[in-house]
Homo-oligomer: 304 residues x 2
């Protein structure tokens, strides 16, 4: 099952040190989600050879410029590629007015339809669901209304042991029920227990995204036990005061969230431009939560 | 006298082949003008080591996304640099609504004031003037209202021949009049002709900018005899039909404008992404107007 996160930008506020501002591409069970879209995101797609053609859903955490100013250009480029599929955009109230204004002022007519789902970042809710996964929004603590996202796979059916189909002569129309966990009655009347016919499915995985936030322990129930948590870490902990004032976190704080939420792995990003090399942020986070990695532009993180 | 044009983007519509979309930085007598501002323009400033701190005037030719979508991010970056000077923006009606919406939606508060001068691109007028130069807008022929700009130095005072000041004992308070072209009466009553006291000033120079336009010979009177003409050349001439439909020019057409307007030098840009190497466009233009150069991202063109 695919579960890959590609980093399109890891810097805060402005481009610096070959790092762009925030955008991420998540491939989860072959659904391709774009998360935030800073200015220059379409350039990053080109730079790293990532494709934006398969994106059908875009999730916006908040309306600060370094998370949305790349949207109009990316959508126009999709249109110049003659995209026809509808595109769904989930974002705080205002995202529609923003894009409508950009396109009406520039007299641009897209080749495809956008379906907007405007959210209230102060509330948590399931904002997207399909057969394979759900996406839940939850409040973060920033200077303007901001939401995180939990992308969570659904439990898959049990795996049919193929050799048992022949061994017992199980008819095709019974297989769905067996995958759903039922025992099977053979034509001669003997009951075969389900666990003799199936194996456990792959455990559902989850990705939690916390873009811009001060330390906020109310997010812990939402991100608990995630396979991968992305949490911003704008500052080293000596700049805690600055983090508090600006509604951001230190690397220590990101790691404390990861530790207390019992996640499997932490990815930190949204680095202040003052850090030409964000290694100091990684070192700091690892003192609290060893399984931490840096988000690096162009790097792809697989979760197995 | 400084007269330098720096190319920040030479591609049409989307980034391609390491070329960004249109933006230019003009330094004319130490006034720094930004002309158009595609998405990624602030990245280009970084990439090429150009500075945006001295820009006090921005000129926008039209409201298509590939000419304006970099403005909000650049202005926010100026604000993060704690800019205090007022910034003047000249552009078609709508540019203020666009920027106001971007900043209100993203709840951004700039550290400096913007003074908007909204124009009607269908009319030609002097839209800016200071002691050193004027900027005239004039209509281009594109799919939406679009204007070109003529940046023209004013004639400078004549140059005082310094050795004549001592030779004749000319008092300081007479020098301004002499520079303005007057003859000088010495205390003994003899008249000294102005051309014995001064030399000609440097001839005023001009830069004409024609961003997106179909072939349009009505621009010729405006750009006539310019020292440097930038004219878009999106297509080679075999794609003339496509140029006409899309409101763009071929390289041949750009060169015909240059030739008929008697400009000193032609710079072509706004290349279609189909040309990985725009040399074919240059070759074509040179058959009509030999003194043509390609606009190349990051290159600085001096006019002496």
């Amino acid at each position: 099952m695919s579960f890959k996160l590609s980093i399109l930008g890891s810097n805060a506020a402005v481009p610096a040190h070959s790092r762009n501002m925030t955008a991420q591409l998540l491939n989860m069970r072959e659904h391709h989600f774009l998360i935030d879209c800073a200015e220059g995101t379409q350039h990053q797609f080109q730079r790293f050879g990532f494709k934006f053609q398969k994106i059908n859903h875009i999730f916006i955490s908040h309306l600060h410029g370094d998370h949305i100013f790349g949207l109009p250009g990316l959508l126009l480029s999709m249109s110049l590629n003659n995209r026809k599929e509808k595109l769904q955009i989930f974002g705080p109230l205002g995202i529609k007015t923003y894009l409508d204004t950009c396109f009406s002022i520039s007299q641009s007519h897209l080749s495809f339809e956008i379906i907007f789902h405007e959210t209230d970042p102060q509330k948590s809710s399931i904002i997207f669901e399909n057969n394979d996964l759900t996406v839940r929004s939850f409040p973060l603590l920033h200077r303007i209304p901001t939401q995180g996202f939990l992308f969570k796979e659904k439990t898959q059916p049990r795996k049919m042991l193929k050799e048992k189909i022949g061994e017992y002569g199980i008819p095709f129309h019974d297989i769905t029920k067996i995958k759903d966990g039922e025992d099977w009655m053979s034509p001669d009347g003997s009951l075969i227990k389900n666990n003799a016919l199936t194996s456990d499915p792959v455990a559902p995985k989850s990705y939690a995204y916390c873009s811009d936030t001060a330390y906020f322990d109310q997010i812990i129930p939402f991100v608990a036990t995630a396979d991968l948590l992305y949490h911003e870490a704008t500052f080293t902990h000596d700049l805690l005061g600055q983090a508090i004032v600006s509604g951001h976190s230190t690397a220590i704080q990101a790691a404390e969230i990861a530790k207390n939420a019992g996640v499997k792995k932490l990815l930190i990003g949204h680095f202040s431009s003052r850090y030409a090399n964000p290694q100091c942020l990684l070192n700091e986070a690892k003192t609290i939560f060893p399984n931490t990695e840096l988000a690096i532009d162009g790097q792809v993180y697989s979760v197995d």
